[in-house]
């Protein structure tokens, strides 16, 4: 929800980086959020953390 709120206020073309250690967030929730909004996203794992980049279209 926090990410959705931040995305709402983000300018088009900007990228939001989400850092989480909750794997389902990176695998399910955030991709679903980005898909629902039609935004480009990329997810990667760095050790214990997951980084999800969502680009506001």
């Amino acid at each position: 929800m926090t990410v959705a709120k931040r995305l709402k206020n983000l300018e088009p073309g900007k990228v939001i980086e989400v850092l989480t250690d909750h794997q389902p967030a990176a695998d399910v929730t955030l991709p679903a959020l980005a898909n629902g909004l039609g935004y480009q996203f990329y997810a990667e794992r760095s050790g214990d953390l997951y980084r999800v980049y969502i680009t506001k279209q």
């Binding site: 929800m1 926090t2 959705a4 709120k5 073309g13 990228v15 980086e17 250690d21 909750h22 794997q23 389902p24 990176a26 695998d27 399910v28 929730t29 991709p31 679903a32 959020l33 980005a34 898909n35 629902g36 039609g38 935004y39 480009q40 996203f41 990329y42 997810a43 990667e44 794992r45 760095s46 050790g47 214990d48 953390l49 997951y50 980084r51 980049y53 969502i54 680009t55």
Partner: protein, 422 residues
Amino acid sequence: MLEHFVFSYGFVFVYAVFGIAGFIVGWVAQRGNYCFVNAMSAIFTTKSYDRFGALLILFGTSALATGGLVAFGFIPAVDQYYDNYFSGWYIIVGALIFGFGATMAGGCNLSMLYRAASGYVQNWLELFGMMLGTLIFAIAIWPTQSFTMTNGILSTKEGAYIEYLPYDIFHSVAGWSVGITALAVGVPLVAIGLYLQAKTRRKWASLGIGASAPIVGTTMATPAPALNSGGLPIGGGIPMIKPSSFLGRIRTTDIKNMILLRMPYSVNLSTALLAIALLMVFVSGAGYTFNYLVITSSDGGRFLEYILMPFGVNLALGTPWYNNALAIVDPSVLMVIMLIVGAFTASTLSGDFKIRVPHERKRLVIGFLGGILVGIGVRVALGCNIGMMWTNFAQLGYDGILFLVSMLGGVWLAIKVQQHLV
């Protein structure tokens, strides 16, 4: 307990099968990130019906499978409906409270357990809150609720065949009536589930998601995340690989990655495995015990009893509900213990295990308070999303529908509250 046993292999075998089923459920739920609350909340937050569709497929498949076994005479009908629940105001009220509490706390009973086993401290507190909520229910609510159930006040006076749809519709529990009912319940659920999944995936596919690519929303076209000189994204980490079943197709490499715990299980694979676990207990427990998956009687009810035992307190001696509604131990205890073991093992071997404390400490308090509501809600509703909702579809009852709708209402309410808190 029924007077006859369907199969004569004895209680040890029944306990063993329940334990194995529990291990499977814990392992699969952890690997598949299977959460009923997330599936429902996704409808409202991200407009994704993929996981909710999987739930409907699970319910429909369960109804078809158990109904089929009864219709073809492998299992007597009485073993399908014997433990059918009462129905009344408490299903609706309890499911609403449960849906609200579980969403606030961070997970349904299944996800609470596997996340607790994976190291999520918030879910530990949700579990303790649930035990406390069960005690509050037992002392403050059960006497009144029990009175309404006994006297039929906005309630049926009994369960079993009264709640059994083949009997309600055809006034018969013969194979043909069970078979027709199972088809009438199961086929639409599976069809709607598949439709919702297809609808969601069509929408995603139209955005250009590569089935075999890392998790990207489109191909790496501009504007893309900034890349370093080596061509890797900013974080320099390992791209997450999405199973191609994300869009409905499974490749050989996906199967290999899932076996090696490099990739989460796809939602439909998880659904199929969970349905198999339900069937295992349905067949093995027939005539011996409540032959469905039950969680909250153990983790919410019995665990508190067990915690107090070393201190010389036996709740079963005098506390309402504990002293007449909850056997001191049954196969579901072993199922829940092995569920925790299965989830813990899966999370450790996959590298996912970590003690996780929320960044915002208030989430711990919300988790605990939500857990109390979960404990109250599941006991009022006579069960949780597993033991009441999912089970009731397999029992060919109608409480499952009531629970589903009410739980959706509770989830929606909680999301509205959370959106104000964010």
